[in-house]
């Protein structure tokens, strides 16, 4: 407590979703601990990680929920989407099947999360370019048509991992700022005001936020 890590202006809850084995856990460990594990353990249920970054002149703490990818688990995992302000929908560029089901993941996400949630489509494993099954243009077009951010990453050689998380956190930040300006009089500033528990957007009392409340 009281450490530098605890000193932040915002907490953003972000969920990582997508088929089993696309590399969600490794994307997260690359971002939060700069680690990669060829045989990381199967995620069952949900795991958590955090990292604090600076956006503009605000300190943002990303609270990332790494969910299990098994189709059968969706009934359980969808409960984890509540209160999320961002989501990374991950697929494996070397397995077309993991891209085909992105649609279903999105549907699931919009059913259980806020409509205003910021979503990014992430094609992972670019280090296996020779085995690519999903053309980048195709995924990019899909993302554009559905209003999603898009990036291709490699958790293994860390290409674009930092950038992916930073982009989505910045996007969330800007969205929050805009919303705040619009409703400057009211108290409802968060994207997910109905769930105080997940502290979707919280402010610490220590440092005044850059935007007047």
């Amino acid at each position: 407590m009281g450490s530098a890590e605890e000193d932040y202006n915002f907490v953003f809850k972000v969920v990582l979703i997508g088929e089993s084995g696309v590399g969600k856990t490794n994307l997260l460990s690359r971002f939060t601990r700069n680690e990669f594990n060829h045989d990381s353990r199967t995620t069952i249920g949900v795991e958590f990680s955090t990292r604090t970054i600076v956006v503009g002149d605000a300190v943002v703490k990303a609270q990332i929920w790494d969910t299990a990818g098994l189709e059968r688990y969706r009934a359980i995992t969808s409960a984890y989407y509540r209160g999320a302000v961002g989501a990374l929908v991950v697929f494996d560029i070397t397995k077309h099947q993991t891209y085909d089901v992105v649609d279903r993941w999105l549907k699931e996400l919009y059913e259980h999360a806020e409509a205003s949630i910021v979503v990014m489509l992430v094609g992972n494993k670019t280090d296996l370019a020779q085995a690519r099954e999903v053309p980048m243009e195709e995924a990019k077009m899909f993302a554009d048509n559905n209003g999603l951010l898009f990036v291709e990453t490699s958790a293994l050689d860390s290409t674009n991992v930092e950038q992916a998380f930073e982009t989505i956190l910045k996007e969330i930040f800007h969205k929050v700022q805009k919303q705040k300006q619009r409703s400057s009089q009211s108290n409802t500033v968060s994207l997910a005001s109905e769930s105080p528990e997940s502290t979707a957007v919280a402010q610490t009392e220590k440092r005044p936020c850059c935007v007047a409340l």
Binding site: D39, F48, Y73
Partner: protein, 436 residues
């Protein structure tokens, strides 16, 4: 046992010898030393004494090699007089230094003795533990297992059971306790395995669908299930390095999971199963592991979870929360306040029966009692974990609790852990688990 006794005696003899050497080596030094000596000679003598002479195989060096620890630096301290080219110490000062030196040696000596005693005690404790395990093995093998039906519920057996089943009989006891309600035979396992292998073959050659009794499941689902098993096997206990591709149990795990998807196509493969099968493989032969696996998953709680029957799972969570509130009201309120719901931590624990979240030896002990007490014990264990860390958890906020519980510390103290499980009462307003 003969071996062990011999070993203890050897060990203590070694200690004596070493003390002996220590006294002679260092105790005599100051007395023998002349006040007028040239440094080279001192150096040479020192080397001889400490066995660091250039002759590689001096007897003293051999002795040193046999000791299981080197003398501490303070013990090896040798009092020397001033070199000849410097004025000699006044007698008084020399006397004082000698006295100080002797005190130091005595202190060091004391410490060494103490450490030796500590080590001896540790060894004795280990022997005692080994003896008690040895005795437990005898009791299990000679008394309990031959009379399983009559003895398995007696108080004495239940107590012994709580202590942890010795690894050598663990598999047998688990098998008996889990039972075989489904009447699965080794032949049935072979049939299921053969069918699974056929599927894999047709899958890999890209042939048309093999008809199986899994109506209602599309080919894509089945394919995904096979893919998923392959994917998960290498992600099961990766640090043990025995289930990975090329590891000794890779094929065994693959076979059991594959056979199960043919035996119960309505359940199929669900993540978490690979961990359960792996723990069984570590304790049982393949076919017996399959029998235990299928029967274990057939239990109501496991069926509810592995079929991902959300409604039933919520019922289990609700029941768990009743006992949570009863046993740990303060922590329960703290969790409620932070909106920390059981699905965040219980899912992993129940799906893998703690084999993923606890150290393997502790997980096996939890399995021991789970086999004895049934599903109730899984939730009791969860409360035991929460109780053990109650003080830390009440000081944490949502994200820290969530992170802590989904990644428990690796050095969980086993005795304290089981004590806190034992302290959990599975009775709420006179209602037992099954009633709630």
């Amino acid at each position: 046992f003969f071996c062990r006794n011999l070993f203890t005696r050897k060990q203590s003899a070694r200690f004596e010898k070493q003390h002996d050497v220590g006294w002679k080596l260092f105790g005599k030094v100051p007395l023998r030393e002349n006040s007028q000596k040239d440094p080279k000679k001192i150096q040479k003598e020192y080397e001889e004494k400490t066995g660091r002479a250039h002759r590689p195989l001096s007897p003293k060096q051999n002795v040193r090699k046999n000791l299981d620890f080197e003398p501490l630096s303070t013990t090896a301290l040798i009092l020397e007089d001033r070199p000849a080219n410097l004025p000699a110490k006044p007698a008084e000062e020399a006397q004082k230094h000698r006295q100080q030196y002797e005190e130091m040696v005595v202190q060091a000596k004391k410490r060494e003795l103490k450490e030796a005693q500590k080590r001896k005690k540790q060894l004795e404790e280990r022997c005692k533990l080994e003896d008690s395990i040895g005795n437990a093995v005898l009791t299990w093998n000679n008394e309990i297992l031959p009379n399983w039906e009559t003895m398995c519920c007696s108080r004495k057996v239940r107590e012994l059971w709580w202590q942890g089943i010795p690894p050598s009989v663990r598999g047998k006891v688990w098998s008996l306790a889990i039972g075989n309600e489904l009447n699965i035979t080794h032949e049935l396992y072979d049939i299921c395995l053969a069918r699974a292998k056929e599927k894999w073959r047709s899958h890999s050659t890209g042939a048309a669908e093999v008809e199986c009794e899994d109506a209602g499941f599309s080919a894509a689902d089945r394919e995904a299930s096979l893919e998923l098993i392959k994917l998960d096997i290498s992600r099961t206990f990766p640090n043990l390095c025995i289930f990975q591709q090329g590891g000794p149990y890779h094929d065994t795990l693959h076979s059991i999971l594959g056979a199960y998807t043919c035996y119960r196509p309505d359940v199929g493969y669900v993540q978490g199963m690979s961990f359960i099968a792996a723990v069984l493989i570590l304790n049982l032969d393949t076919a017996d592991a399959f029998i235990a696996f299928s029967n274990l998953l057939n239990k109501p709680c496991q069926m509810a979870f592995f079929r991902v029957d959300h409604g039933l799972m919520l019922t289990y969570f609700a029941a768990f929360e009743v006992f949570f509130e009863e046993n740990l009201p303060k922590l329960f309120a703290h969790f409620k306040k932070n909106n920390l719901t059981p699905d965040i931590y219980l899912i992993d624990w129940i799906f893998t029966l703690y084999s993923k979240s606890l150290p393997l030896d502790l997980a096996c002990r939890v399995w021991d009692v789970f086999c004895r007490d049934g599903e109730e014990f899984l939730f009791r264990t969860a409360l035991g974990i929460l109780k053990l860390f109650e003080d830390i958890l009440t000081k944490m906020d949502f994200i820290h609790i969530a992170q802590f519980l989904t990644k428990l510390p690796e050095d969980l103290p086993s005795e304290e852990f089981f004590t806190s499980i034992a302290a959990i009462q599975m009775q709420s307003r006179n209602k037992k688990w099954a009633q709630v």
